[in-house]
């Protein structure tokens, strides 16, 4: 039996385009939704035969903003996926949502349809930070969305946060963390803002109009998150992810544990047995290919042993499982043990919090040569 798999479905529609975002997401393409939905159905039909024999443990609707689609359509999509792919009974089904795209009514229908895990793009509770990120929602809409989800009965909520935006102080970040805890989510993701060159924000930073994030401040923010979330009983299980025990995200763990996954939708990635392939990115091209009965593959790569090794080391260190010390010459990792970036946990090298902040260094240092 092969390892359990995950299904990722990409919904590329958003209400507006945020300045920092380099995802495959588009504002103003709502008109394509019905056609896009049909294409997803069709792609699932085309892709499924190759996955016979794989048991799936998670489905993840990401974006973009999946909740820009009608709950009824999403329900139909999920049941179509259940018909085409073999899923275990307690499959984790996650949907990403942005605060202003959900109501108690729509959330009830999603829950009823089987989406039991809701990941809300809160980002911050500081209005200035939300503005600087060009997010259109207010802190109040995050609180409203969480309250609506709880009323609708969602048992598993995750909040996404971003830290280090222009103008955010350590104090503001602490308030965001406190506000997050006050809402009692089962899961929290906290990402350091990264400036991607091919974004509006990236260009502003390059042009010197907006200062880029201060890495030292972001380091302090990370350590603060570790402290605050840890004290509140959340387990740090991946560099940017914390969960109450038992609420770790099964789907995302699949990527990091290098388990197989199917990717459906524009630009989605799939992986199995050291081969990764991905769909064409523009929604229009994606739909045309699928409509002509073709798998919409845009590219692929076969990991050679050294690629696979690099991924293994880098991902295992990310999820704090660590990597066996026996993989490396002692001379490679001993300096990191001495400088307190790694600890030796019964033969596993695991990054400390300071080590997590320097993970790239660790990976490159361990695998150099």
């Amino acid at each position: 039996m092969s390892a359990p798999g995950g299904i990722y479905v990409h919904i590329p529609f958003c209400l507006t385009r945020c300045g920092y975002c380099d995802f495959n997401a588009y504002a103003g393409l709502e008109g394509l939704r019905p056609r896009y939905l049909a294409a997803l159905f069709r792609e699932a039909d085309l892709a499924a035969p190759a996955w016979v024999g794989t048991e799936f443990v998670s489905v993840f609707l990401g974006g973009g903003t999946p909740t820009t689609m009608e709950p009824a359509d999403l329900r139909a999509l999920l049941s179509h996926l259940r018909e085409r792919f073999e899923m275990v009974p307690d499959t984790e089904v996650t949907i990403e949502a942005n605060p202003d795209t959900v109501t108690e009514a729509s959330l009830s229908r999603l829950l009823e349809a089987g989406f039991a895990r809701l990941s809300i793009g809160a980002q911050s509770f500081d209005p200035a930070v939300l503005r600087s990120l060009e997010r259109i929602h207010q802190p109040t809409s995050v609180r409203a969305a969480v309250a609506a989800a709880r009323r609708a009965g969602f048992p598993n909520l995750s909040l996404d946060l971003i830290y280090g935006a222009n103008g955010e102080s350590l104090g503001s970040w602490r308030r965001t963390l406190d506000e997050t805890l006050a809402l009692g989510p089962e899961h929290v993701s906290a990402y350091a803002l990264t400036i991607e060159p091919a974004t509006a924000l990236g260009r502003q930073v390059a042009a010197g109009q907006v200062p880029g994030p201060d890495p030292d401040l972001q380091a302090d923010m990370f350590l603060l998150a570790c402290e605050v979330l840890g004290d509140a009983g959340y387990a740090h299980y991946e560099i940017s992810n914390w969960a109450r025990p038992g609420f770790e995200c099964v789907h995302n763990l699949g990527y990091w544990e290098r388990r197989p996954y199917v990717g459906l939708g524009a630009g989605a990635h799939a992986y199995r047995d050291d081969v990764r392939w991905w769909n064409v990115r523009p929604p229009e091209t994606y739909m045309e290919k699928v409509e002509s009965g073709e798998l919409p593959i845009g590219g692929s790569e076969s990991l050679d042993p050294s690629d696979a090794y690099l991924e293994e080391v880098f991902l295992k260190l990310r999820i704090l499982q660590g990597v066996p010390a026996s993989w490396f010459d002692a001379g490679r990792y001993e300096p990191y043990l001495q400088s307190g970036l790694l600890v030796d946990d019964f033969g596993q090298l695991v990054p400390t919090e300071r080590g997590m902040l320097l993970l790239n260094e660790l990976v490159l240092g361990l695998t150099a040569g």
Binding site: Y8, F23, G62, Y191, A192, L193, T194, P215, D216, Q218, A219, F222, I239, S240, N252, Y255, W256, Y261, G263, A268, H269, A270, Y271, R276, W278, E301, D307, L310, E311, F314, L315, R318, S339, L341, R354, M356, L357, L358, L359, N360, E361, V363, L364, A368
Partner: protein
């Protein structure tokens, strides 16, 4: 049959940079139908990619034009001061020179310099005002100034627009009428001067020559008078404008010779070619004075395995760039490489870029420096690498090269120029008003103060109106000290520099500040110190880095994350490990452009 000698004219075009030499050559190529209209492009003779990208001529180019029964051998020359040597060599192949002056700019420093060179070489000058089509042109006034310089009648000065073609016909006519035809006995023993050379992978060494006397048939057995090497030549020809074989080259003619030689050291620019055996000449023509390098820099292969490839490339390049000199050297920080001498910073940039492009090399260069003469008792040591400068107290005195600078400027900027030259330890020699508004000033200045950013400073302080030319003058004692740079406590030889004692602190401060910007944060604090001997004069710290991690890794696109890591890994591999510290290769050169003038022109 070669052309009768009285129907030959050999001339070059000389001028200040950008006054339109190559564009005038374009019009001549067109007017004489030498280049097909369809093949024509602007600055046709600027053939190198680098010349086209930078819009300047780097190498002199010879081309044959046929016009009204005359054979006109034209050489287009570069205007930049670094390439004055190219001009001198071209002059030796000519009887006449067109001296161009931009009708808007007027006389400039290289106008004077090139005029003096042409006059001293005994050439007939054909003066012309160019760019008369420009709205800002003042041709009459410029002609008067030029006439005064030449001691000529303003009526002799031609007016042209190399852009529109106006007056170009008259220039050719003047060349035919005024420039004497070459001399030289057809039957005398062959003497042909090599004024340029190139290396072709398939054909070997190609020389560009001017026949002074005798005849050079195709496929002759030839001899080089300086190196005494003989060879079976493969082809004679002329550039028209592409290589075109001819049966023979007679006295006065300019053309090329595929020598049959494969070793680049055997055909030196300035050598004389004759025929092998009894019929050959015994006496060489006066050659060229070897050009003197003005600046030196260490060139190292980024990949240590490329050392011999770099040697080979330098040998090859030397053949088409006889001004290039180099000697092997070793650096603790950079490994095996060469100390290379250049005519100036532009020359240095060009050589480096040619080595990288034409020979597919990745190079690290150290900051340029001038040479120093260290005297100890009766001993004189010439230092080309600052790291080799003995420590203070270990010698009697140091002398540095001094240049004689000619600056031409509108009188309004004189104050700014005095101030600049003063700050650069200059000593005024004299000053002369060319016109009531335009002044020619002469200064003696330490070369080290001029060669790096002086020109930029001059331009910015005079809003681009002043121009500069300089020539070597001699040596002069100076209070110089060696400033070393230490990273994390270890001296880095490639960062050592020799500077004037009074400027050492300022230099040390700027240098450590600059390096602080260039050296990426590492896992530990890195101290950057500048020192004279054991005395630290400046210090900066690159704080340890705290964050280097990809924030987000989900959505399945692990490929991209891995690629980011691989890119980072490559970046790390490209760094030089100096002691414990990773130093980017750029730091070795960029650091030394300490004055924010760090310019790429």
């Amino acid at each position: 049959m070669s052309t009768e000698i009285f129907r030959i004219r050999n001339f070059c075009i000389v001028a200040h940079i950008d006054h339109g030499k190559s564009t005038l050559a374009d019009r001549m190529l067109e007017l004489t139908h030498t280049v097909d209209q369809r093949a024509m492009r602007a600055q046709y003779l600027d053939r190198m990619d680098l010349e086209r990208e930078r819009g300047i001529t780097i190498k002199a180019q010879a081309v044959r034009l046929l016009h009204e029964g005359y054979e006109l051998n034209l050489i287009d020359t570069p205007g930049h001061v670094d390439f004055t040597y190219e001009v001198s060599r071209s002059l030796a192949a000519c009887e006449g020179a067109i001296l161009l002056v931009d009708a808007a700019q007027g006389l400039e420093a290289q106008t004077l310099a090139n005029y003096h060179l042409a006059r001293d070489a005994g050439l007939t000058i054909v003066p012309a005002i160019n760019k008369i089509d420009l709205p800002a042109a003042e041709p009459e006034q410029r002609a008067e100034e030029l006439a005064r310089l030449l001691g000529a009648d303003p009526a002799e000065i031609l007016h042209v627009s190399a852009k529109t073609g106006e007056g170009v016909d008259d220039v050719l006519k003047a060349v035919i009428d005024r420039v004497p035809h070459p001399g030289g006995d057809l039957h005398a023993p062959l003497q042909a001067l090599i004024f340029d050379s190139a290396f072709d992978t398939y054909r070997g060494v190609i020389t560009y020559i001017r026949v002074k006397q005798g005849t050079l048939p195709s496929n002759a057995k030839i001899k080089m008078l300086a190196t005494h090497v003989t060879s079976e030549a493969e082809e004679t020809g002329v550039m028209a404008p592409e290589a075109t074989p001819v049966d023979s080259l007679g006295p006065g003619e300019v053309g090329y010779l595929v020598t049959g030689l494969k070793d680049v050291h055997h055909a030196k620019v300035g050598d004389t070619i004759t025929l092998a055996g009894k019929q050959g000449a015994a006496v060489p023509l006066p050659g060229y004075r070897e050009p003197k390098p003005m600046v030196w820099s260490g060139l190292y292969p980024a990949d240590g395995n490329d050392y011999s490839a770099l040697r080979e490339a330098l040998d090859r390049l030397k053949l088409s760039d006889s001004a290039l000199v180099y000697e092997p050297e070793t650096s603790q920080a950079l490994g095996f490489g060469f100390r290379v001498g250049f005519l100036g910073l532009l020359h240095m940039d060009i050589v480096r870029e040619r080595l990288e492009r034409e020979f597919d090399l990745q190079l690290i260069s150290t900051a340029p420096n001038v040479e120093f003469h260290v005297f100890r008792g009766a001993e004189e040591i010439v230092v080309h690498n600052p790291a080799e400068m003995p420590p203070g107290g270990d010698y009697d005195r140091v002398e540095e090269p001094v240049i004689y600078a000619t600056i031409i400027t509108p009188a309004t900027y004189l104050g700014a120029i005095f101030e600049l030259c003063q700050a650069r330890r200059g000593e005024m020699v004299d000053m002369e008003y060319l016109t009531p508004e335009r002044v020619e000033v002469h200064y003696l200045l330490p070369l080290a103060e001029v060669v790096f950013d002086f020109f930029d400073q001059l331009k910015s302080k005079t809003r681009g109106f002043a121009s500069l030319d300089y020539e070597p003058w001699g040596l002069q004692e100076a209070k110089l000290v060696r400033v070393d740079i230490l990273l994390h406590g270890e001296p880095v030889d490639a960062f050592s520099s020799v500077v004037h004692r009074d400027k050492a602190y300022e230099y040390g401060k700027k240098m450590t500040e600059r390096l602080k910007e260039l050296i990426p944060r590492q896992l530990f604090d890195v101290a950057i110190q500048a020192s004279i001997g054991s005395k630290v004069i400046a210090r900066e710290t690159v704080k340890a880095k705290r964050k280097d991690v990809l924030a987000k890794c989900y959505g399945g696109d692990i490929t991209r994350k891995r690629k980011l890591l691989e890119t980072q890994k490559k970046g790390k591999e490209r760094m030089r490990r100096v002691g414990k510290v990773d130093v980017p290769q750029d730091a070795f050169i960029a650091a030394l452009r300490v004055d924010e003038g760090a310019k790429k022109k």
